[in-house]
C-alpha cells in the first residue's frame, strides 16, 4: 500500500476511508486535524479527547480548483495536472473540512449542496507517491 502523506490523519480502508479526528468526552466538540490534545472549546475544562472516525459523507459547502502547482512543500509533478478542491460540511460534527477532489471530477461536475464522500487517492511525493484523503461526489461523479 502507498504510504499516507500524513500519519494518523485517516484510516487506510480504500473502500470506505474515514478521516481521523478527536472528540472531547466532556463537551462533544470534534477536532480535526487529529493532533489536537486539548479541547478547543474555551468553556470546556476537560482535556480528555478520544480518537474518532469522522463522518465519511457530507454536503459540498463550496469548491474551486488549483490551476497552477502550489509552491513547496507541495511536490510538483511534471506536467502539473490541475485538480478540483472541495470544502465539505459534516453534519454530525458540524464542521467543514477541505480536501482535493479525486481525479476525473472537475469544477463543472460540482454544485454546492451535493452529497460528497471521502476517498483515498495519491498525490505526488519526493521519492514516491503518497496517499491522501480526497472528496468525491457520493453518486460516483458520473457526468
Amino acid at each position: 500500500m502507498v504510504a499516507p502523506v500524513l500519519e494518523g490523519w485517516f484510516t487506510l480502508d480504500e473502500y470506505a476511508p474515514q478521516l481521523l479526528g478527536t472528540r472531547c468526552v466532556a463537551c462533544g466538540s470534534y477536532h480535526f486535524p487529529p493532533q489536537t490534545v486539548f479541547c478547543r472549546n474555551p468553556d470546556c475544562e476537560s482535556d480528555t479527547l478520544e480518537e474518532v472516525e469522522l463522518s465519511r459523507t457530507g454536503r459540498l459547502w463550496s469548491f474551486t480548483n488549483a490551476c497552477y502547482a502550489p509552491p513547496p512543500p507541495y511536490v510538483k509533478e511534471e506536467p502539473f495536472h490541475p485538480y478540483a478542491i472541495a470544502a465539505v460540511e459534516l453534519e454530525r460534527e458540524r464542521m467543514v473540512i477541505l480536501g482535493q477532489v479525486v481525479r476525473g471530477v472537475d469544477v463543472p461536475d460540482l454544485k454546492i449542496g451535493m452529497d460528497m464522500e471521502l476517498a483515498l487517492e495519491t498525490i505526488p511525493g519526493h521519492d514516491s507517491e503518497r496517499l491522501t484523503w480526497k472528496w468525491r461526489p457520493a453518486d460516483g461523479g458520473a457526468r
Binding site: 466538540s29 478547543r40 468553556d43 459547502w61 512543500p73 473540512i97 482535493q100
Partner: protein
Amino acid sequence: MSREIALLGVGMHPWGKWGRNFVEYGVHAARAALADAGVDWRDVPFVSGAATVRCGYPGYVAGATFAQALGWQGAQVNTSYAACASGSQALAAARAKILAGECEVALVVGADTTPKGFLAPQAGERPNDPDWVRFRVGITNPTYFALYARRRMALYGDTVEDFARVKVKNAAHGYANPNARYRKKFSAQDVADSVMVADPLRLMDVCATSDGGAAIVVASLDFAKRMGRADAPRVAGISTATPTFASGQVEMPDLATDSAVAAEPRSFRAALPRQAYEEAGVGPEDIDLAEVYDLSTALELDWMEDLGLCAEGEAASLLRADETAVGGRLPVNPSGGLACFGEAVPAQALAQICELTWQLRGEAGERQVTGARVGITANQGLFGHGSSVIVKR
C-alpha cells in the same frame, strides 16, 4: 480621558518588485513619515516594528533593524508579527505606550520584500504546522478566496462580472496613486482575458505579492497640540481581535473549521471590527470611506458586509451602482487596494492607515473622497489575526 492618539506623519515607499533589502523600503518610509510629522529621528523614544518572516533574522526583529538602520539612538523597541495584521498590532503597541504615558511620540514601521508567485511557508517537514500541511496537500491562498467567492455566487447571485468590477474600480483609483505598483485602468475584458487561477477567480481577481514599506508617526494629543497639529487625524479605535469558538468559516491556513457541536458557529470577520467601532464610538453608518483587504476582488464584497457597511448579500449592488467608487456614497479602497499594490505583508495595514490619513487631511489628490471625516480599515492575518483601525478627523 481620551483614548485617541494623533496621526502626525505618514510615509510610504512605493510598492513594486525590485528585490532590494526590505530595510531600505522601511527606512525610506520612516524618513518620509518623520519629515511629514516634523519630528526628528533623534527625538523618537519608541519604535514599533512590524516583522517580516521572509527576510531572515533581521525581519523577525524588524523594530530594532529599522532603528539600527536609522541610527541607534537608544529608543525603546517592540516588534509585532501577526501576518497581514502585523501593522495594526504594531500600531496598537505604540498606542498603548502613549496612552500609558510612557512616551509621547512613536514611530511605527513595516516593510517587506517578497518572493514571486504564491506566498509559501519556510522549508522543512512540519506536519504539526497547519501552514505547512495545507500546502503539502495542495491548498493555497487563492483556494480560500475562491471558496468564499463561489459561496457569494451561490448565496447572493454575485457574478464573475461583479468581481471584475471591483478590479476595474480599484484600478481607476490606483491610477491616481503614485505609490501604487500597478497604475493602469484595467477593463472588465482584461480581467476576463486573464488566466484562471482558482475557479472562479482569475489572475486579475487575485492580488500579487510586492515589495513595499509604510510608516506612521503617532503621538499623544497633547504632543500634537504643542506641535500646532491639534487638527491632525486621530486613531480613534483599534481591533486586534482573535476569533471566537466555534469559528464557522474555514480560515487560512486551516483545513477545517471548529466543530459547532457545543457552541454556535460564528463569523470571525463580522466580529473583527467591533472593538474598533466601540472604542471610536461610531457605527457603520458614520463611516465615510473604507480600506479593506482585497486579497481577491470577491473578498472586498465580503469585507463591506462584515464591516456592517451594507446588509449581507448587498455589497455587489452597491458596487454596481458605483457607490463604492471615489465620488460615490461610500468609497471602498480609494487607494486602489491590494488590486493596485499587491501585498507587502507587514506594511499593508500601515499603508491602509496612510491612505486614510491623506484622505482625512484632504491630501489625496484625484482620489480624494469629499468631506472624509471617519475612515475604517480592515484586514485579517493567518492564524486568527483580526485587524481594524478607525481614523477620525
